[in-house]
């Protein structure tokens, strides 16, 4: 009888610990506003693309003023034009593929 009671107590204790652990791990739906899951879904792609090598243009995001961006484009054109003229002055593969200091491609 004592053994049976001890087993029942241990089972209840195990059940209580499991319930407590489950409660901690499970999302508190009643405490979260309804909009939160939507926000999480909306943010997920942004994190995904931020890691993508196919989107290097994040450097020149909307936070860069258009004037600064145009200056960078102009600087890029000047550097690329000079590089192309250098290639034409002495055509060879090294000059054709030479890198400039343009911030648009570095």
């Amino acid at each position: 009888m004592e053994m049976l009671l001890m087993g029942a107590c241990l089972s209840l204790l195990g059940l209580a610990v499991t319930a407590l652990a489950f409660n901690t791990a499970a999302p508190h739906t009643e405490e979260s506003p309804a909009a939160e899951p939507e926000t999480a879904r909306a943010e997920a792609p942004a994190r995904f693309f931020a890691d993508s090598p196919a989107m290097p243009a994040v450097t020149f995001s909307a936070s860069v003023p258009i004037e600064a961006l145009l200056l960078q484009i102009e600087n890029h054109v000047r550097l690329e034009h000079a590089a192309a003229e250098s290639f034409l002055a002495a055509p060879n593969r090294t000059l054709l593929h030479s890198r400039t200091m343009s911030q648009l491609v570095n």
Partner: protein, 155 residues
């Protein structure tokens, strides 16, 4: 102009003077446009003083912005679309400072060089060199641009 302009290289000084006399001097004030992309092109220009920015409209953040393609200075030629069908400018030329150009109408040049074919041949070879040089520069720029795009997107 101390040296002959690129278009008249190889002409004798007398021929050069005669050809220059066919043009009309035009002053372009600071910030003004000499011609605009799409305009009818009936004049070719030699820059006597100052500078011209040649630009093309580029789509940037959903808006159109004039982006520098080339800059030309004294002795250089702009506006050769005036001699090549369909006689429409493919760039916009703006003076970033007060600039003086000599404008030659297509009709006047054709008339003059039909009467002076040897000088005409020299001038049109020079024109071919101007056009060819620009083509080669932009071929190289195009290839470099393609390389950069491929590297950025698929590296």
């Amino acid at each position: 102009m101390n040296q002959p302009p690129d278009l008249f290289e190889g002409l004798s000084s007398e021929e050069c003077e005669t050809a220059l006399a066919l043009g009309v001097r035009v002053t372009v004030s600071n910030g003004a446009e000499l011609f605009r992309l799409g305009d009818e092109a009936d004049r070719i220009y030699l820059i006597a003083r100052g500078r011209l920015r040649l630009t093309m409209p580029m789509q940037v953040r959903g808006g159109e912005q004039d982006v520098l393609v080339e800059e030309r200075g004294p002795g250089q030629t702009v506006g050769w679309s005036a001699l090549i069908p369909p006689y429409r400018f493919t760039l916009t030329a703006t003076a970033p400072l007060e600039t003086e150009v000599v404008a030659f109408s297509r009709e006047t040049l054709q008339h003059h060089f039909l009467k002076n074919p040897e000088a005409g041949c020299t001038v049109f070879l020079n024109l071919a060199a101007v056009v060819g040089q620009r083509l080669q520069v932009f071929q190289a720029m195009w290839l470099r641009g393609m390389e950069q795009m491929v590297e950025m997107r698929f590296a």
